[in-house]
């Protein structure tokens, strides 16, 4: 894997939108291509890292990279939720936005090589961890088993439902999905996703877990994984905080003494366990 270095941390670089795909209601992916071959050669990232996307005259927002690190086109999957993302939702191919990044610490994919990978996600907006699913499936032989556990509130909240069926057919791959409330013909579990961790098949001595979702869900998932015998140091999670500068200066993303933008957003569970279990910090 290429060693990543920061490309343009101080100023946003104007970048053309070369494609756009609709993922679900209010969720879309912007495909961006850096302007010059030199910039494309220098820019590299790990899934789990993020860029600051800048919409001129509107503002900036941190968005994780959802494309494969070896693709030249950078994908950002965005949920239209706030002032800036609602404006991003109106952008079309041919228009420009600013990019600075990549920032933060990504998923430990090098460390995960050869091991079983257990992914537990909750709710919407888990693009950072879906990028890992694609990453592993694309390099299937470099990893052990892949277990994907996804929980949603309502069955209709499951984005890309066909993708889960498709992953479930892959070799050495297990997919467990749960909705707190299901519709008729919902093929998966009804209830919390946390008890499904019981059913996950993986080698606790040679596995790595990656969690993404609401903080309470991640704490519950980490406890369930630890109860299965997985070392807490083999559990990673991605934190979400208000990030404005992305370089550990503006102070908004502080979690205890951590700056989530710089020290995270991906943390080893023991690094943030105390703070997460407490909540309200």
């Amino acid at each position: 894997m290429r060693r990543c270095r920061m490309s343009a941390p101080a100023l946003p670089l104007p970048v053309e939108i070369v494609g756009r795909s609709e993922e679900a209601a209010g969720i879309f992916t912007l495909h961006l291509r850096l302007p010059t071959p030199e910039q494309r050669a220098v820019y590299c990232f790990l899934p789990g890292q993020f860029n600051m996307l800048y919409l001129p005259a509107v503002g900036e927002v941190p968005i994780s990279l959802s494309s494969d690190p070896e693709d030249e086109i950078l994908g950002h999957t965005v949920r239209s939720a706030g002032r800036v993302t609602r404006a991003l939702a109106r952008l079309q191919p041919g228009e420009y936005l600013g990019v600075r990044g990549p920032y933060g610490r990504g998923w430990p994919l090098q460390e995960a090589g050869g091991r079983d990978v257990v992914i537990v996600t909750g709710g919407l907006g888990c693009a950072p961890v879906l990028a890992v699913v694609h990453y592993v499936l694309r390099r299937r032989k470099s990893f052990g088993r892949l277990v994907v556990i996804q929980g949603v509130k309502h069955s209709r909240d499951l984005l890309w439902p066909q993708a889960y069926q498709e992953w479930a057919r892959q070799p050495d791959t297990q997919v467990l999905v749960a909705a707190d409330a299901g519709e008729p013909l919902w093929p998966w579990h009804v209830g919390s996703a946390i008890p499904l961790i019981e059913q996950a098949v993986f080698d606790t001595d040679h596995a790595l877990a990656m969690l993404c979702g609401p903080e309470g869900m991640m704490v519950a998932a980490a406890r369930a994984l630890a109860a299965r015998g997985l070392a807490e140091s083999a559990i990673y999670l991605s934190m979400e905080r208000n990030m404005q500068c992305a370089v550990g200066l503006c102070g908004h993303c502080q979690l205890g003494g951590k700056f989530v933008c710089r020290d995270g957003p991906v943390f080893r569970y023991p690094e943030v366990k105390f703070l997460l279990e407490r909540g309200g910090l």
Binding site: C245, L249, Q254, G280
Partner: protein
Amino acid sequence: MSVPAFLPRPQLQRVFDALQHLGYRIVGPVARDGALVYEDITSASELPWGVAARQDAGSFRLEAGAGERCFAWANGPQALKPLVFAPVEPLWRMERKGAGFEVRMTQATCRPTAVIGVRACDLAALALQDRHFLGGLHADAHYAGRREDLLLIAVNCTHPAATCFCASTGDGPQVSRGFDLALTELDEGYTVAVGSPPGEKLLALLAPAPATADQLERERAALHRAAAAQTRGLPGRQLRDVLMARLDHPRWQEVAERCLACGNCTAVCPTCFCHAEIESASLDGATSLHLREWDSCFGERHGYIHGKQLRPGTRERYRQWLVHKLATWHDQYGRSGCVGCGRCITWCPAAIDLTEEAAALCAGAA
């Protein structure tokens, strides 16, 4: 370092003359609007001669001081922070070009600036802000531009306020590092110590006489008295573990009922670094400035994340401010973020006293 020198009081103007000769803009304390503020001055006559300041929790009053001194007070609401970490400043300017746009960094043009009257607490705070803005992987160019060519003429504190507790944090009342020249005000003039090569160069222009043994003894005694006069203090310099173990202490709720969440404490705190980034667009949207401005962990936007407040109430916000300042700052920068200047006590409209809160929260800890 050379032997401390002595400048008779009438010669203080020569410091100004020498600074101007070297091309410095001079910033110093002025009594204005009932407070002591740091602003551009050109002559020693503008300093607050004969002024004293009485400070207490929630109170700052200028008074006539005894004698003919100009530094016979502790501090005003702010000193160095706005000079290096500007309250509002543009980070970049955007201009639309065809289908795309251009972004250019905006950089304030900074004249070499000399600040006269810098206190030990402010130097300690500046060292912390330097570490925050310049010490990481991404040194902040805007801060760096203002910090460069800053000449610091410190004044040892001989008249601490009732709110001061720098002796307890170990940051004062005497300056120890980070200054170019350090003065101590005596009845007849100023002892002058050199702290850096630029300070030495400046002092050489003044060609002063060495301080006498009697003057140095009176300086020592004055600084000793200034430390001994401080009645407030923190219960320790390392409160991290105690506070982190007491995040559910009932005192957080109790203080939240008094706190107005106005953010005054964070505005006057010389180490608070939080800032918001905001986009200020022209009416037609053809250009915009991307600004940063001071932000406060007491405000609505600080802990906001798509439709949710991470710290919804004053209890959580006060806890964030105090726990960051006294506990998690240790994780970030290896020491507490409090330098004992007492400003958050003086300028709190509800007279909340950080030292009193810390004592209540840490009471009974071994």
